[in-house]
Amino acid sequence: MTRLSAAFSKDHPALVTFITAGDGDTAANLDALVAGGADVIELGMPFTDPMADGPAIQEANIRSLGAGTTTADIFAIAAAFRARHPDTPLVLMGYANPMTIRGGEWFASECNKAGVDGVICVDIPPEEDAELGPLLRSAGIDLIRLATPTTDKARLPAVLDGASGFLYYVSVAGITGLQQAAQTSIDEAVARLKAYTDLPVAVGFGVRTPEQATNIARVADGVVVGSALVELVAQHGSNAAGTLQDYVASLKHAIVAARKA
């Protein structure tokens, strides 16, 4: 069983938390996410042109790059995380260019060496899978695909082909951290996706509060929270760990309670 599949086999839905690498004290913040109860960590790779992200994560990318974060730094953060937390799955999330600029093979090998479990690449759809997919799969790294409100039944098999780890349902047609989806549309979408795949389905985009997390946790296998955490890092700078841990703990409590209620 991989770290990711173990995280989705617990007696409660998984809490998936995102922060941007190199924004604030990343090592301390990652430890805080784990201490707060995060089941899966998504570590954002900063990019100059984050086309799918809203203001919160755009600004985190700018702060991180402004502080001089390199790809080598990100892998060092990941490797150190793996040494401190042998069991918590770590997923890199970002854009195609930084992931492929030295070749997909190089990227897959670095992920492997750093103990990264999975990769989410926003702008490589299944049609361009050759860029990264086969190289990640042969290095034993899960390629996590995104399904969206525009992914219809006819297209879903293409999205699922080559997907592993979990399926990330982007609950709104839009960018990160802004609108939130109506709960009924999430319920319907998750039911539809689960009819097509045995992969765990995690729901993200616009999920900010424990109340939302509770509602999503009633139907989905995972709840992804990103922009709300990134905003805490923005507010508290290099002293964000305590606040992050408390907020993550409140989300976790909401998720665990959802299935007991």
Binding site: F47, T48, D49, P50, M51, A52, G54, P55, Q58, I62, L65, T70, T71, Y95, A96, N97, P98, M99, T100, I101, V122, D123, I124, P125, E127, E128, A130, E131, R145, L146, A147, T148, P149, T150, T151, D152, R155, V159, V170, V172, A173, G174, I175, L178, Q179
Partner: protein, 413 residues
């Protein structure tokens, strides 16, 4: 992935069915956009073979845009260049006059095609990005003509330095949205337009201004702009009985260049030269993606990009806002790699000199974009024989640039 080799005797059948020009192009977009991009391709395939669509496009180009644009022999410029050329050298210089189009540049050709496509797809809201404002003005123009709401994303820095075009767009009924993310220029405007599109896929059509972006944009923009090369080829044959020896065009994203070049790609005796903006010089700040960049993925396609070793995108610089972009259309990357087109660059200073030369010798105030091509024409014509023909695309007029030029020349107006 299917690798479709071009048949050995044609350079004109790209891209392949997945939108690749060799290793370049493709569809690197978020999943939310993917179904829409596939739908656009389906609609474009149908439109391309529909005589009614073509007839409407042709009719608007003739009666609204003012096509065909003239093909003009620049006699005084030719004489001027010959004065400093070696004995027997100094090719005849000709211009394709796309600066005479409605709205003053080649951009309108593409906007007409895309808005017809948008209406065919039932889209009711138009968005676009713009740098200097020329594509924004052309988009606002066709939206006014067809009564569709229009939202133009423009870097806050460009809004400041291109006030006349901002006002034009507003007069035409468009809403201009200043973009304050990133470096506040064209690439950030494109990011913001993509963010709008992803949030409004159900009713919105994105009119991309250059032959770049996810497939099928590079192909359809090229096809709409190919009217330039088709006309030029026929006009040159009818005027001189022969084809030109060399074509020259300026390149930012590369839509005017691919529009001129594409119909000639299989004429093996016609040489082609694409001119990138060398800004302050290739060793300093510039916008020459082919000369100073390497292949990468941005804004939906794989192509040459200005970037650092980690793949972070660099800021471009050119005195010409229309060339100030860190990427280039993927077909140009492919044409460079297979060697069919030669690419070179021209600095801000060289372009300014050529700008003034054309004003004085021909009574034509060119835009700063084609001024780059004119500087290269001067350079190349001197190496060519007097009976040879060099043809450049005069893709825009310079009214929009007089403030920039005045400032560069130290004149207050």
């Amino acid at each position: 992935m299917t690798i479709a080799d071009p048949t050995p005797n044609s350079f004109r059948n790209q891209p392949d069915e997945n939108g690749h020009f060799g290793q370049f192009g493709g569809r690197y977009v978020a999943e939310t956009l993917m179904p829409l991009v596939l739908d656009l391709e389906r609609h474009y395939r149908l439109a391309k073979t529909d005589p009614a669509f073509q007839a409407q496009f042709d009719d608007l180009l003739e009666h609204y845009v003012g096509r065909p644009s003239p093909l003009y022999y620049a006699e005084r410029l030719t004489e001027e260049v010959r004065k400093t050329a070696p004995e027997g050298k100094g090719a005849q210089i000709w211009f394709k006059r796309d600066e005479l189009n409605h709205t003053g540049a080649h951009k309108i050709n593409n906007c007409i095609g895309q808005i017809l496509l948008a209406m065919r797809m039932g889209k009711t809201r138009i968005i676009a990005e713009t740098g200097a404002g020329q594509h924004g003005v052309a988009t606002a123009t066709v939206c006014a003509r067809f009564g569709l709401p229009c939202f133009i994303y423009m870097g806050a820095k460009d809004v400041e330095r291109q006030q006349p075009n901002v006002f034009r767009m507003k007069l035409l009924g468009a809403e201009v949205i200043p973009v304050t993310s990133g470096a506040n220029t064209l690439k950030d405007a494109m990011n913001e337009a993509l963010r709008d599109w992803v949030a409004n896929v159900h009713d919105t059509f994105y009119i991309i201004g250059t032959a770049a972006g996810p497939h099928p944009y590079p192909e359809l923009v090229r096809d709409f702009q190919s009217v330039i090369g088709k006309e030029a080829r026929a006009q040159m044959l009818s005027r001189t009985g022969r084809l030109p020896d060399m074509l020259v065009a300026a390149i930012g994203g590369g839509s005017n260049a691919i529009g001129l070049f594409h119909p000639f790609l299989d004429d093996k005796d016609v040489a082609m030269l694409g001119i990138e903006a060398a800004g302050h010089g290739l060793e300093k700040e510039h916008a020459a993606s082919l000369a100073g960049g390497r292949p990468g993925i941005l804004h939906g396609n794989k192509t040459y990009l200005l970037q650092d070793e980690d793949g972070q995108i660099a800021e471009a610089h050119s005195i010409s806002a229309g060339l100030d972009y860190p990427g280039i259309g993927p077909e140009h990357s492919w044409l460079k790699e297979i060697g069919r087109v030669r690419y070179d660059s021209v600095t801000d200073v060289e372009a300014l000199n050529a700008f003034q030369l054309l004003c004085r010798t021909e009574g034509i105030i060119p835009a700063l974009e084609p001024a780059h091509a004119i500087a290269a024409v001067e350079r190349e014509a001197k190496k060519m024989d007097r009976d040879q023909i060099i043809l450049a695309n005069l893709c825009g007029r310079g009214d929009k640039d007089i403030f920039t030029v005045a400032e560069a020349l130290g004149t207050a107006i």
